[in-house]
Symmetry: C2
Subunit: 133 residues, 2 copies
């Protein structure tokens, strides 16, 4: 089913759902996705959630936790699926993935008081985007 040797071969449902997220200018919610793919034969929430889970796992998309929504990764298909940072406009809800070498380095090396290092993090910044100021 489409054997181009990309990083990952997406299955049929995964590809459909990735495409719709990837084309969207804004994060999409699971049920919004569901409504948009019903014409393509995906009829049940679980089909969507399974694809979403997999896409998150392989770093093609990220979940914006504070919004229960999903966005395609734009860090050249995130080598850092486990180290994500976003800016979120509190008015227009625009979400942008932040890619800052300094930030990711700082957080990847951050140790808490017990000297604990972390394998993974998610950071969400909130504020007003250019337009909304």
């Amino acid at each position: 089913m489409n054997k181009m040797h990309k990083e990952h071969n997406l299955s049929k449902n995964q590809q459909i759902i990735f495409d719709i997220i990837n084309k969207s200018p804004e994060p999409l919610k699971a049920y919004t996705i569901l409504f948009n793919v019903q014409k393509k034969g995906i009829k049940a929430p679980l089909q969507v959630y399974r694809a979403l889970d997999k896409l998150v796992e392989i770093g093609k998309i990220h979940k914006i936790e504070s919004r229960n929504a999903f966005i395609a990764c734009h860090n050249s298909s995130c080598q850092v699926a486990k180290a994500t940072a976003f800016s979120i406009c509190e008015i227009c809800e625009k979400v942008t993935e932040i890619s800052s070498a300094g930030l990711s380095k700082y957080l990847a090396n951050f140790k808490d008081k017990d000297g604990m290092k972390y394998s993974k993090y998610n950071l969400e910044f909130f504020g007003l985007c250019k337009k909304c100021r």
Copy 2:
């Protein structure tokens, strides 16, 4: 209703719900809270959510977004309700609020590529706690 001049005077429902979260060693979910306060006359989800919203707003508790759960603030009733960081153990689900001057300073001053500064952030680190390693 209890006029000690603290930072905020909690209402009856707010106090009940804060107490239960504050006593809990682990983050509590809204419906767990609901089940635990029904004996005290709080019967409906909305009563819980309204109190939670207010408590979050005034910084007495924080929401752990990736878990849909709530934890009491232990940074001396968070002056930084809008700048939160947590460590989360992926095995036992233990959650700890991180208070690191360095971290909060770094993030408070972080500017993205457009020079945008943010008024608020939430950071969740994932890894394994001492016990679970």
